[in-house]
């Protein structure tokens, strides 16, 4: 790696969101580096998922800005964020249960891409996550791990530049997890920016180049794994005062 600091893909500045008096995200600033895997961690209720929801337009921020390729994403609708090349998965999978695996995939195809090409990409990605044999099965009939893979593959359909993964490791077995991590690294190899929310510290510490820690809606630390592991504030946030 060169001496230059990596370029920033997503630049969140002073983001705020209140839910009826609860400050879910409270003036948080995060800068996710381009082309790398970043981790976003923090205790339950620290505002990680809310940050994802704000990033993808699922909820609108009260104030603050999200810069991406020079545009401010704050206040855009989810589908507009999607069209900018940012996709996501959900903490609890939200695949379409009464649609087949193939239809799930095709639903996220960009309409600017001809249908034939969209279909080809869907086939390709199903092969990528080993779901081709379930192509014409209803999403709801898949196991939880398979649903996670499907959701992951679906998020890749539009060939996004930024992929936000909300707890990809939760509820799937070790073999599948290893597969998933391999896929994530391959994506990184293609130059994609990846942000992972995760409670599994093995995933975070071993696979993320940079880790951001949130607590009470604020960023309390950032840095590579070794630094975070030693950070007093992070330890306090997770374990309370000693």
């Amino acid at each position: 790696m060169g001496a230059q600091p990596p370029e920033i893909a997503l630049d969140i500045r002073d983001l705020r969101k209140n839910f009826g008096g609860i400050r879910a995200v409270d003036g948080c600033s995060l800068a996710f580096p381009r082309g790398q895997i970043s981790g976003l961690i923090g205790p339950n209720g620290s505002g990680k998922t809310t940050t994802f929801n704000l990033l993808t337009g699922v909820i609108a921020p009260d104030s603050g800005a999200i810069y991406y390729n020079g545009d401010n994403l704050a206040g855009l609708k989810p589908y507009q964020v999607f069209r900018k090349g940012i996709t996501r998965t959900f903490q609890i999978t939200r695949i379409y249960r009464e649609m087949t695996v193939f239809e799930n995939m095709l639903s996220a195809s960009r309409l600017s891409v001809p249908e034939r090409q969209g279909r080809a990409r869907a086939e390709e990605l199903m092969a990528f996550v080993n779901l081709t044999h379930l192509r014409d099965e209803y999403g709801g009939n898949l196991s939880y791990g398979q649903q996670k893979l499907l959701e992951f593959a679906r998020a890749l359909m539009p060939d996004p530049d930024v992929i936000l993964l909300d707890e990809p490791a939760a509820g799937i077995n070790r073999t599948l997890l290893a597969d998933l991590l391999t896929h994530i690294h391959r994506l990184q190899g293609m130059g994609k920016t990846i942000v992972i929310i995760e409670h599994d510290m093995n995933v975070i510490m071993n696979h993320c180049a940079k880790i951001f820690v949130m607590d009470y809606g604020l960023k309390i630390a950032e840095g590579p794994a070794q630094e975070i592991q030693r950070n007093e504030q992070v330890i306090t946030a997770y374990f309370g005062h000693r």
């Binding site: 939200r94 239809e103 639903s107 996220a108 195809s109």
Partner: protein
């Protein structure tokens, strides 16, 4: 699906069409209008299916489009002396306008709230049509000039049905339809995965409104008398719902099969038991909703005779 498969389906449709085009010359007025009304129900069921089957927004008031279409046509023919065919286009425009007017607020509601708001919209429109007697002749209804037009209405309905089937086929085999399905399954996820849900819902709703409006117009010119209670009858919505659910919602062939079977059954068997048949209607809807949510098509899928999903 390969283009060969598309061609095969088109060939089926073509053969069906040839049959339906020759048929009216071989049968009398009674059976001609019987087939005409069967085709009308195919149109209505397919239309209901576009918004409720694909998008999952169950409309309990879809008769409203049929009603305004038939009124637009009847008013122009009876009061302004228009020839009836161009009035169908006016009916379509009126249907579209009403769809936008109703859809803009009501499509923001979800699940049961949309369903009941549509029920209200249809009933409300019926009341307005009854009250606005300077335009609609109120509760007295409208008499249309008496002409024998069973052949013309037959072909008008045939043309409409073909267009409806083709549009439904496109919806059912395109990314547009898949995205409507995505809205049905999980609107929030669909939005996050690039579907402008507001726009798509509006598009589906408008499409599903235009065909019933035209069908209503043709029907008015065939029956030659309309009144608010008849044109905005809740039972018409229920029938669309049941036909689509019975055949298989969210498919193209389902509503067609459902409409034909149910209409045949209704006319041949049930008509002999007027109230009992409507009680059975309710019971039937319960059974279909409870035990065969995917309809006849679902039974075929369960036996491996048909493939899951709409796009392959």
């Amino acid at each position: 699906m390969t283009s060969r498969e598309h061609l095969r389906y088109l060939a089926y449709l073509g053969a069906f069409l040839v049959f339906l085009a020759v048929l009216p010359f071989q049968i009398g007025v009674y059976y001609r209008s019987f087939v005409m009304f069967t085709m009308m129900w195919v149109v209505l069921a397919l239309s209901w299916n576009i918004i409720s089957g694909y998008t999952g927004y169950i409309s309990f008031g879809h008769v409203v489009f049929y009603g305004v279409g038939s009124y637009a046509s009847a008013i122009l023919v009876a009061d302004h002396g228009w020839p009836w065919i161009p009035t169908l286009l006016v009916g379509a425009v009126v249907g579209l306008a009403v769809a936008i007017l109703i859809g803009y607020p009501v499509l923001r509601l979800k699940g049961p709230y949309f369903a009941i708001a549509m029920l209200g919209a249809a009933e409300g429109t019926r009341v307005l049509v009854t009250v606005w007697d300077s335009l609609t002749h109120g509760g007295l209804g409208i008499n249309l000039p008496n002409v024998e037009n069973s052949m013309e209405t037959y072909f008008a309905m045939l043309a409409l049905m073909v267009v409806t089937i083709l549009v439904s086929y496109w919806v059912g085999h395109s990314r547009f339809g898949i995205r409507l399905n995505a809205i049905r399954e999980d609107e929030l996820a669909a939005e996050a995965l690039g579907v402008n849900t507001t726009l798509y819902k509006m598009a589906a709703f408008s499409l599903s409104a235009v065909f019933p409006a035209i069908a209503g117009g043709i029907q008015a010119n065939k029956t030659l008398y309309i009144n608010p209670d008849g044109e905005f009858l809740l039972l018409i919505t229920i029938t669309m719902t049941l036909m689509t659910m019975f055949g298989g919602k969210g498919t193209v062939i389902g509503p067609i099969v459902g409409a034909i079977l149910l209409y045949l059954f209704q006319e041949v068997v049930w008509v002999k038991f007027p109230f009992f048949h409507l009680i059975m209607f309710g019971a039937f809807l319960i059974l279909v909703a409870r035990f065969m949510p995917r309809g006849i098509v679902g039974l075929f899928i369960a036996r491996g005779w048909a493939r899951k999903g709409m796009v392959h």
